[in-house]
């Protein structure tokens, strides 16, 4: 019979569970560290996963053939043009895109439509209501073509309205400013100027953590009007373009880059991204954040492991006599080792499982109470269980060795 025969193994598991039941509070306290660790890691990772899914939904609303031009050199590429690195700081605050660039891009042969996105500083208000956490974007009539989401009521402003004070708003804006779903014909004020609501978008898929604004909270106004509003100076924070043929994304990007380099005197102080790359960048940011937080959270797993080791050491000392008796009736050192190792592993694994269940609960609460939509995936659950098992093995080994090495006579005399 092998020393780890299945019957003995089952016996060890049973004994370990009995030991846990026997000291319920102590075991729970011991598992506390692992439980907290697992809950925080799983929750963080599932939040990140949720955000990623929301972002990819948000990016889908713009179509997969969308080309984004941003100011600043936000990414570095390897020789084959794949994304090599992301410079997060460069993505913000750079101010190198101009109206001239828009004109250049519009003239690139393959480009069907190019649309500027300009952030208008200002606060939208209607009556007593103000738009909170919203943004005002000045754009051109081509925008409608780029968006997958349709205008639900009314319509987008056309080219002939490019100098008129009209606005197309997202759902949240309608709710916040007018407290109704279809406030067509009503007016809102931006920097003292009245705008007539021309259309309301249907709900955009949105995410709380993305490089793009949440269009549900956005007021779209014609480009020229926005420019006047800002005293003729507009921040071009993004130019969106679409190729005539959806399969021509890459050649179009090459042409655009060439044209822009010409006008920028050879300086590549802009970034051209295809839709999938925008997603990649967001994912990288989210992964980085998630990874950082999860790493901090994982420290509590370590602390939990130390707690288990501590309790197991106490338990080994407490049960010295038991070890002596077991050795006297013929337990080998290896079998004693197995017993105590199993106990540590069961302790941390049960802690891990409780942690996973609590994470599910936390997930549910987060979904109810916030806009975030965390997603617990199976790999995360498996990893949580695997890691807690590992913690049990790592931190259970020292106490188990201590137990196994006890001299039977000393132990019996204890």
């Amino acid at each position: 019979m092998s020393p780890l025969g299945s019957s003995l193994f089952r016996g060890n598991v049973k004994m370990a569970l009995a030991a846990i039941r026997g000291a319920r509070w102590r075991s729970l306290m011991t598992m506390g560290g692992v439980i907290i660790g697992v809950v925080s890691v799983v929750t963080t990772v599932s939040l990140g996963e949720g955000v990623k899914r929301q972002v990819s939904g948000q990016i889908n609303r713009l179509g997969s053939d969308l080309i984004t031009v941003r100011p600043g050199q936000a990414v570095s590429r390897d020789a084959e043009g794949r994304l090599a690195g992301v410079d997060f700081l460069a993505a913000f605050g750079a101010n190198t895109l101009t109206e001239q660039d828009l004109a250049v891009i519009e003239k690139v042969p393959n480009v069907e439509v190019a649309v500027p996105l300009n952030a208008v500083t200002g606060l939208a208000e209607a009556g007593d209501h103000q738009l909170k956490n919203g943004s005002i974007i000045a754009t051109s009539s081509g925008m409608e073509e780029l968006l997958r989401t349709r205008v639900e009521f009314g319509g987008f402003f056309g080219e002939e309205e490019s100098d008129k004070p009209v606005a197309v708003i997202g759902k949240r804006v309608a709710e916040q400013l007018f407290a109704e779903n279809v406030p067509i014909g009503k007016s809102l004020k931006i920097r003292g100027q009245e705008f007539i609501v021309r259309g309301i978008f249907e709900e955009f898929e949105s995410s709380p953590l993305a490089l793009n604004a949440d269009f549900n909270r956005t007021v779209f106004i014609p480009y020229n009007v926005g420019k006047k509003l800002n005293d003729g100076v507009l921040q071009l924070y993004q130019i969106l373009a679409k190729p005539t043929d959806a399969h021509d994304v890459l050649p179009t990007i090459a042409l655009m880059r060439e044209a822009l380099l010409n006008t920028h005197a050879g300086q590549e102080d802009f970034t051209i991204l295809k839709a999938s790359e925008t997603l990649t960048i967001t994912n990288r940011i989210v992964n980085l954040l998630t990874g950082l937080i999860a790493a901090v959270a994982a420290i509590s797993l370590l602390v939990g492991g130390i707690g288990i080791m501590n309790i197991m050491l106490v338990s080994v000392t407490e049960r010295t006599k038991e070890i002596g008796v077991r050795k006297a009736v013929g337990a080998t050192n290896f079998q004693i080792l197995g017993q105590f190792l199993m106990e540590a592993v069961v302790l941390s694994l049960v802690g891990g499982l409780i942690g996973v269940v609590l994470s599910g609960l936390a997930n549910f609460l987060i979904r109810i109470l916030t806009d975030l939509q965390p997603v617990i995936t199976w790999p995360v659950v498996a990893a949580a269980c695997g890691v807690s098992l590992l913690v049990g093995v790592i931190f259970g080994t020292a106490p188990a060795l201590k137990a196994a090495r006890k001299d039977p006579i000393e132990a019996l005399r204890y």
């Binding site: 019957s7 003995l8 016996g11 009995a18 009736v329 039977p408 006579i409 019996l412």
Partner: protein, 293 residues
């Protein structure tokens, strides 16, 4: 061939000046099926001897052959296996595991043997039946009386059908009734051909043994056969000796009990107080004795 053969076995503890001799060149040979009682004062090395025979301890010097095979070179795991398959331990303090029920306690040695759970519990139940505790299977050890606990311990020692049963003062914590029950049980076991080594302080128990070994200061000072049912004179003298020490004894650090041990008589006779004590003892022994059996 003797089942246990010790040749000049010594056990030392400590180093240098602090060296203590627990066993000094003890030679002992036990045949299969013998019931040996080992008597002696506390600290005379009885338990050390038992631990060495039971493969819990290793001798510092000397040779130990178990069924004709030297055990000195056995690895720890092999010694564990030998304990599991060939030894049964009965302790003074029962040493049942408090968290396992009676049945599981009895089945413990079988678990380490790798016997399947159903099989080992069945076997343990049979053994419990044999010690008369078939109705206590699912009790926890703390719910048992001392006598019952010791019978459970005996069942545990027997469950793997060992060659040698080592009982270290098995009745030390029991009242006389339970003592008798436990000893009857051991006697039955002896009848079925098991070898039993029993350490005891109580001469009355030597009644069950067929051989008595007296120990003192780590040495075997006397070894005599005895008829089952009889308490030998030597053992009885120890029993009825009333411990009494003189100032001389205290100064010498020698207990009166030791003086009464075989081999010390001559010396003890010279001392007056001791002689008085002895006279008392002899007088007492003449009274009709309560026979246990």
């Amino acid at each position: 061939m003797p089942i246990v053969e010790l040749k000049d076995v010594s056990k030392l503890y400590g180093f240098g000046d602090a060296t203590t001799i627990a066993l000094e060149e003890v030679s002992l040979s036990v045949e299969k099926g013998e019931f040996v009682a080992i008597m002696g004062a506390s600290g005379c090395g009885k338990t050390t001897l038992m631990n060495i025979i039971g493969l819990l301890d290793r001798p510092t010097h000397g040779e130990y052959q178990l069924s004709g095979r030297a055990v000195a070179k056995l690895k720890n795991s092999q010694r564990s296996r030998a304990r599991r398959d060939r030894m049964g331990f009965i302790f003074q303090s029962f040493n049942l595991l408090p968290r396992l029920n009676v049945l599981e306690n009895v089945a413990l040695p079988l678990a380490y043997k790798g016997v399947s759970q159903t099989k080992r519990l069945t076997q343990a139940a049979l053994m419990l039946e044999r010690v008369g505790l078939g109705d206590r299977e699912y009790f926890m050890p703390r719910q048992l009386s001392g006598g019952q606990a010791q019978r459970v311990a005996i069942a545990r020692a027997l469950v793997n059908n060992p060659d040698i049963i080592i009982a270290d003062e098995p009745t030390g914590n029991l009242d006389s009734g339970s003592s008798r029950l436990a000893m009857e049980l051991l006697s039955d076991i002896h009848q079925t051909g098991h070898t039993i080594l029993m350490v005891t302080h109580n001469p009355e128990l030597t009644r069950y043994a067929e051989r008595i070994v007296y120990m003192q200061d780590g040495q075997i000072v006397h070894d005599e056969p005895s008829e089952i049912g009889n308490v030998p004179r030597r053992a009885r003298r120890i029993m009825f000796y009333k411990p009494q020490t003189t100032e001389d004894d205290d100064l010498a650090g020698v207990s009166a009990l030791m003086n009464a041990m075989p081999g010390r008589e001559a010396k003890a006779k010279e001392r007056k107080p001791i002689r008085r004590g002895k006279a008392k003892a002899i007088k007492k022994s003449k009274k009709p004795k309560k026979v246990i059996r």
